[in-house]
């Protein structure tokens, strides 16, 4: 069953939903990256919670006008209007009052959401069961989704993605260095509005599948996971799109395998799984790579210290140093150096003396910057450069 769901084997409608979720996930991951790099991730939480009163109001208005009230386009339009109001409220509070942005977000988020819940309750008591399904916007549900709705979501996701491609440069420049971007003629206000508009579009389009409570996770988890794999913004953006897309696909497929599995939480859990993999396994920034690096660094420090101690005829007290030297056959377990140990110690001292000359010479500044007390000079300078440095070393007899 799960295999069929993952490989689009559950029929046309279910496949369309899965594809729609993947497109939405990609759009959310890519858009979310710019939000994350602009350090405004939490604003999306205010936007998403602010959609609820709009959904409820749109439903009530449609019913009052004699309609069905459940048409997705109408509800999404309502949600977009109230999300925009929420966003404006955050901007206004943060720029015109003494409230900081985080406080403004907290205030707007809770007030709008609370108002939405009240409206939902009113709808529940007023009408006659037609409202069933409005709560699905909280956590997302794909069961019984119409073909047209799935298409709307997929197309909305892809259009958002296309707009991000066009605006990527000004958005990145604004996120990295707003002063410079502005001096280059980038309109900061318009760029920020466009970015927030894209976030709003993703939120509104994603309401039906992910739900308003969890859409923030689909905007934020993919870029944070992608950040572990790359130090380049363009790659982080692409990877975040992949993470979001895979999460949408897998999450939607999982939720299709059981009747009452809400889609939003499944997608978010899939994204979280990808985050955990990145956090643990990513080379460079991942937890395991960092632990390995720390261990190897410690080993190198202890070995170097031990060898320099041998070269200077000093005793070694550190048990770890003794163990590491012994394991490499450089010293006996009691610290007495072996033949190989003495040779290695002499090399270490020579290296230190050469480094001292390099670091005192301003013309070798770039090389000197790589001094960490561990890297052999042979890794930094050419053989010719080193012999030139050796020529500058005081001759041993001059020292004596």
């Amino acid at each position: 069953m799960l295999f069929e769901a993952l490989t689009l084997g559950l029929g046309y409608n279910a496949s369309l939903v899965t594809l729609g979720a993947a497109a939405l996930g990609m759009a959310a991951g890519v858009t979310g990256t710019f939000l994350y790099l602009r350090k405004r991730a939490l604003v999306s939480d205010a936007i998403s919670h602010a959609t609820l009163p709009g959904i409820a109001a749109a439903f009530m208005l449609a019913v009052a006008l004699g309609g069905d009230g459940r048409g997705l386009p109408v509800l999404l339009l309502g949600s977009a209007v109230s999300a925009a109001l929420g966003l404006l409220a955050v901007q206004w509070l943060a720029s015109r009052t003494r409230l900081t942005e985080d406080a403004a977000i907290g205030a707007v988020l809770s007030v709008f959401f609370g108002f939405g819940v009240v409206l939902l309750t009113v709808i529940q008591t007023l009408s006659t069961g037609r409202q069933a399904g409005l709560e699905d916007f909280l956590l997302g549900a794909t069961a019984g989704m119409l073909r047209s709705e799935a298409l709307l979501i997929a197309v909305g996701g892809l259009v958002t993605l296309a707009i991000v491609v066009v605006l990527r440069r000004p958005m990145l420049m604004t996120a990295f260095d707003p002063s410079h971007a502005s001096a280059m003629g980038v309109n900061l206000t318009r760029t920020d509005i466009a970015m927030m508009g894209l976030v709003m579009a993703v939120t509104v389009v994603g309401l039906k599948i992910v739900g308003l409570i969890l859409i923030v996770a689909l905007l934020i988890i993919p870029p944070v996971a992608a950040r572990f794999w790359s130090d380049r913004a363009d790659r982080v953006v692409l990877l975040a799109g992949v993470v979001g897309g895979v999460a949408g696909w897998v999450g939607a497929a999982f939720s299709a395998t059981a009747a009452d599995l809400p889609t939003g939480p499944m997608i978010v859990l899939a994204a979280f799984a990808l985050f955990c993999l990145s956090f643990l396994l990513a080379p460079g920034r991942g937890l395991m790579a960092a632990a390995l690096r720390a261990a190897s660094f410690r080993t190198r420090v202890h070995l170097r210290q031990g060898l320099l101690a041998i070269a200077n005829d000093q005793p070694i007290y550190e048990t770890l140093t003794l163990r590491l030297l012994a394991r490499r056959g450089l010293a006996l377990p009691d610290g007495v150096p072996t033949e190989a140990g003495r040779a290695a110690a002499a090399r270490a001292r020579l290296d230190e003396e050469r480094w001292a000359i390099v670091r005192a010479d301003p013309s070798l500044e770039l090389a000197a910057a790589r001094y960490d007390g561990l890297t052999p000079l042979e890794d930094v300078l050419t053989v010719d450069q080193i012999s030139e440095i050796d020529a500058r070393r005081p001759a041993p007899e001059a020292l004596a």
């Binding site: 440069r169 996120a175 990295f176 260095d177 002063s179 410079h180 001096a183 003629g185």
Partner: protein, 269 residues
């Protein structure tokens, strides 16, 4: 020009005709305020083409604010700025701005070459390719600040001085005619300071105009040919030999300056 005279007349000031028309960079009646107290008050300054000007003054004198307001990064209460006789916003192609290094997050996921490429944004536009020609220009700018080996490095791995050189390279890539730098020598190592001043002098030799907010009084005479002393209001402006004197410094810095702080100035008079 008519507008210039009109503005001057309205403010009851006298303006040398043609002044701002021929200058590489000119500020007129600039007043900026963050709160009830102006940070910059009615400042005029005129920078001739091909000169190197230091903007100096004590902390909080409004040096950075003046540059930002001139570039339109800060909305002034009054005043305007021109470059090559036109409003600054109309000649952005010819102006390169180097903000303070501390103003950005150096943990941002980007490499040296990517930062420098941002200086080519006006040429690339929204969808243009970062093609071979532009790549060569970026690489050349990086080489001119002595950072060629570091082009593919993540910017967070660089030292403070190297980061400052990357910012300068981004401005060089723009190939502008007017360079506005905010504290380019703040907190950099001696080698970086030498590299930066060499690049700036080379720009001047090629007829470019350089304006830098500067804080180290001991190097003003050596590095710059013109100086603007600022302390909210403009205290003095002109060639270093005339405007950078013990008297003007005392007027700008007040009691905050010990006699020992102005060796260059004391010898100059």
């Amino acid at each position: 020009m008519a507008a210039e005279l009109q503005l001057a007349a309205a403010e009851g000031r006298r303006v040398a005709p043609g002044d701002a028309e021929t200058a590489a960079f000119a500020v007129r009646g600039m007043t900026v305020s963050y709160g009830p107290k102006p940070a910059v008050f009615s400042v005029d300054m005129t920078v001739p083409e091909g000169s190197m000007t230091a903007v100096i003054g004590p902390n909080g004198a409004g040096k950075s604010t003046l540059l930002k307001a001139a570039l339109g990064l800060q909305t002034p209460l009054a005043g305007r700025a021109t470059a090559f006789g036109q409003p600054v916003t109309d000649v952005r192609d010819r102006i390169a701005y180097v903000p303070q290094r501390a103003s950005v997050d150096w943990g941002f996921p980007t490499r040296v070459i990517d930062v420098v490429a941002m200086g080519l944004y006006r040429e690339m536009g929204l969808l243009g390719r970062f093609g071979a020609r532009l790549k060569a220009r970026a690489a050349d700018a990086i080489a001119r600040v002595g950072m060629a080996e570091f082009a593919d490095r993540q910017i967070g791995q660089l030292s403070g001085g190297q980061q400052q050189r990357v910012f300068l390279a981004r401005a060089l890539a723009q190939d502008a005619d007017l360079y506005l730098l905010d504290e380019p020598f703040a907190g950099v190592d001696a080698a970086t300071e030498k590299a930066i001043i060499a690049v700036l002098k080379e720009l001047k030799a090629r007829g470019k105009t350089v304006v830098a907010v500067h804080h180290d009084l001991s190097t003003v005479t050596e590095y710059f040919d013109r100086v603007v002393l600022l302390n909210v209001r403009k205290i003095a402006e002109g060639a270093v030999g005339e405007a950078f004197t013990a008297d003007t410094l005392r007027a700008a810095y007040g009691g905050r300056l010990a006699a020992a702080d102005l060796p260059g100035a004391v010898h100059a008079i």
